[in-house]
C-alpha cells in the first residue's frame, strides 16, 4: 500500500456525534479513529462499572457504530480503531457487536484490547518494587492508597497491531496513548519494525495532530478572525492524516467542509499539550517534534516533515485517579455600577454566611467573570462592565458542608445588594472529585490482552 488515510472524528467523550459518519462518508478513509479518554475519564467509567459489571465503556460508541452501519456496508475495507473500551473493552465489544448483528453485520470481526488496568494487581506491583510515586509531586502512593478509584497504564500500539493482524475491522481498546491509535494502523499496513524509530515518530506526530479532532482543522485557532473575517466552523471538517510507507504525512480534511487546514492550524495543534518537544514520550517511541516543519502544498493540505525518533521508554505512564472529597459551584449575575466590586462583595457574603453557620470550607474561590478573572491579572484594562457572572466554588471533604454552601446563593437576591439576578433553574449539587496521580510502571509488569472474534460470537 502506498499510503493510508486515517481520519479522527472524536477528540473527547462528548464530541460531535455526527462527525464520525460524516468523515467516513466524505473522507475516503482506510481507518477511522475515535479518541474518548481524557486524563480522568476512566475514574468515571470505573465508578459506572462498580455499579454494573457490563458498563464502564464509552456509551457514545455503540451509538456512533449505529450511524456508521451504511459506511461499513458500502466500504468493506474501512476499519475503526478507538479507545472507547475505557474500563471494559470486552463489554464495549459486546455492545457494539449487538448493534452490528442487528444490522446484519454479524461476520464483521471485533477486537477488545485490554490489560491496561493495573489496579487489580496493584499490591503485587508495589511488592515487586514499583513505587508508583507521583511524577509531579514526588509524593508516595501510601498517602492515597485507600482512596484509589482507577489506575490504568497507557499502552502502546502493539495490541492494536495484533488485533489488526487477526483481521479485526473494529478495534476497541482501554487506555492507550492517544497517538498509538494512529501508530497501530501504520505499523500494521507498512510492516514497520518496532525499532524503526523515525517512521514511528512520524506516525506519532500525525496521531498527535489529529487526536483532538477539529482542533487541527480550525477549531480553537487563535487566528480565527484574522483580518476581521471569521473562519466558518459550523460544518467543520474533521482531520485526516495521509501517511506514506516512510512516515511522510499530509494533514487534510474532506472537501466542501468548514474550517481550514493551514500551517497555522496544524502548528497550533502540534504544540498543544506538549512538554519538551524533543522528547514526546509514548510507549512506542521517544519522538522529537523540535525540528518538525510544515508546508502548505495545496488547499487544505499541509505536509509534515522532520520528525525523528529514539528508543521508546522502558516504562508505561500510568494515569491513576483517587477520591478527593467534593466540589460545588454556584453562579449569579450581578448588574449595575461597580458590578465587579459588588460581585466580589456578594461572593464574600456567601462565604461569611456559611462560616456563621459554623462551617469552615477547606478551599474556596470567588470569581467575577466579565471582570477579567478567567486569567487573573492577565488581560489589558477595559471599561468596567455593567454585568458580571459571580461564580463561587468550594472544595471540601464533606458533601453536607457543600450542600449548605449552595443554599446561600438564592438568598443573596433578597438579602444582598441590588442588582443580583440570574438565580433561576435548579440549585446545583455537589459532585465527587477525582484527583489525578500520574506515575510510571515497568513495561514488564503489564501485558496487553487481545481478543478478536466475529460480532456474532461476542456476548455480554
Amino acid at each position: 500500500m502506498t499510503n493510508i488515510r486515517i481520519g479522527n472524528a472524536a477528540g473527547f467523550w462528548g464530541d460531535n456525534l455526527d462527525a464520525p459518519h460524516l468523515l467516513c462518508e466524505a473522507g475516503r478513509l482506510d481507518y477511522l479513529t475515535l479518541e474518548y479518554l481524557a486524563e480522568l475519564t476512566l475514574s468515571i467509567l470505573a465508578h459506572l462499572k462498580s455499579r454494573d459489571a457490563n458498563a464502564g465503556y464509552v456509551t457514545d460508541f455503540p451509538t456512533v457504530v449505529e450511524s456508521l452501519v451504511p459506511s461499513l456496508k458500502s466500504q468493506p475495507g474501512l476499519k475503526i480503531v478507538t479507545n472507547a473500551g475505557g474500563m471494559n473493552p470486552r463489554g464495549c465489544a459486546a455492545a457494539v457487536s449487538a448493534v452490528l448483528r442487528q444490522a446484519g453485520l454479524g461476520t464483521l470481526r471485533v477486537a477488545a484490547v485490554a490489560g491496561d488496568d493495573v489496579l487489580p494487581e496493584l499490591d503485587a506491583h508495589l511488592a515487586a518494587g514499583q513505587p508508583l510515586t507521583n511524577l509531579e509531586t514526588g509524593r508516595p502512593l501510601e498517602e492515597i492508597r485507600s482512596d484509589i478509584a482507577s489506575a490504568n497504564a497507557y499502552l502502546g500500539a502493539a495490541g492494536i497491531v495484533e488485533a489488526l493482524r487477526q483481521e479485526a475491522q473494529i478495534v476497541i481498546t482501554g487506555r492507550v496513548a492517544d497517538a498509538s491509535l494512529t501508530v497501530g494502523p501504520a505499523v500494521h499496513e507498512f510492516g514497520w519494525d518496532w525499532q524503526d524509530w523515525d517512521p514511528l515518530a512520524a506516525a506519532t506526530v500525525a496521531g498527535h495532530i489529529i487526536e483532538c479532532g477539529a482542533q487541527a482543522t480550525g477549531g480553537m485557532c487563535s487566528d480565527w478572525d484574522r483580518g476581521n473575517s471569521p473562519l466558518p466552523l459550523a460544518a467543520v471538517g474533521y482531520p485526516i492524516a495521509e501517511i506514506a510507507a516512510d512516515g511522510a504525512t499530509v494533514i487534510t480534511k474532506p472537501p466542501r467542509t468548514d474550517g481550514a487546514v493551514t500551517v497555522a492550524t496544524v502548528a497550533e495543534q502540534l504544540v498543544y499539550e506538549i512538554g519538551d518537544p524533543a522528547h514526546y514520550l509514548t510507549p512506542d517511541v521517544d519522538a522529537d517534534f523540535s525540528h518538525v516543519a510544515l508546508s502548505q502544498i495545496g488547499e487544505d493540505r499541509v505536509a509534515v516533515t522532520g520528525a525523528r525518533g529514539a528508543a521508546a521508554p522502558e516504562t508505561y505512564k500510568v494515569s491513576l485517579a483517587y477520591r478527593d472529597g467534593y466540589m460545588a459551584s454556584g453562579t449569579l449575575v450581578i448588574c449595575g455600577h461597580n458590578a465587579v466590586e459588588k460581585a466580589r462583595a456578594c461572593g464574600q457574603i456567601i462565604l461569611d454566611r456559611v462560616a456563621r453557620a459554623g462551617i469552615q470550607l477547606q478551599r474556596t474561590n470567588i470569581e467575577a467573570l466579565g471582570g477579567g478573572d478567567s486569567v487573573p491579572g492577565g488581560w489589558p484594562d477595559a471599561s468596567p462592565p455593567w454585568e458580571v457572572v459571580l461564580r463561587v466554588t468550594a472544595h471540601d471533604p464533606s458533601k453536607q458542608n457543600l450542600e449548605r454552601f449552595l443554599r446561600e446563593f438564592a438568598p443573596l437576591v433578597t438579602a444582598g445588594p441590588a442588582g443580583v439576578t440570574g438565580y433561576t433553574g435548579p440549585r446545583p449539587k455537589p459532585y465527587p472529585v477525582m484527583a489525578y496521580w500520574p506515575t510510571l510502571i515497568s513495561k514488564s509488569r503489564v501485558v496487553p490482552q487481545v481478543q478478536v472474534q466475529a460480532a456474532g460470537d461476542w456476548t455480554p
Binding site: S222, D223, E268, L270
Partner: protein, 115 residues
C-alpha cells in the same frame, strides 16, 4: 506611533493542560518575528504577565521548524482539571491572555506581521 506592540500582532498561540501544569505554545508568523521573540519572550516575561497565578519554574522549549516556542508552567492550574477552583481549570484561554502582552516595538515590525 505607540512604542509597544501586542504579541498578537506578530504571533498566534494555543494553550492546554497536562496534570497541574499548563503549556502555552507561541508561534511567530515570520522568521523575523521568531528571532525577535527569541530575545524578548523569555520565561521571565511570561512569569511577570501571569504573576497573579504565581508561576514557578517556567521552562521554554524551541521548535525552530515551525517558528514556535513552548512554555511549560508547572503547578499553575490550582490543582489541575478536576481540583481547580477556577473557571479555566484546564488553561485553555491562557494563550489568548499571553497574546495580549505588550512588547517593545521592533524596528522591522513590517517583516513580522502575517501575510
Amino acid at each position: 506611533m505607540s512604542d509597544t506592540i501586542s504579541l498578537k500582532d506578530i504571533a498566534h498561540a494555543r494553550s492546554g493542560d497536562k496534570g497541574n501544569a499548563a503549556n502555552i505554545g507561541v508561534i511567530a508568523y515570520t522568521d523575523a518575528g521568531y528571532a525577535f521573540l527569541e530575545q524578548e519572550l523569555t520565561p521571565q516575561r511570561i512569569a511577570e504577565h501571569l504573576a497573579e497565578l504565581r508561576p514557578q519554574g517556567i521552562r521554554r522549549y524551541m521548535l525552530p521548524g515551525i517558528r514556535a516556542m513552548n512554555f511549560v508552567l508547572p503547578g499553575i492550574l490550582d490543582g489541575g482539571a478536576s481540583r481547580s477552583l477556577r473557571i479555566d481549570s484546564q488553561g485553555k484561554v491562557l494563550a489568548l491572555s499571553v497574546l495580549e502582552m505588550k512588547l517593545p516595538r521592533p524596528e522591522n515590525l513590517a517583516d513580522m506581521r502575517p501575510d
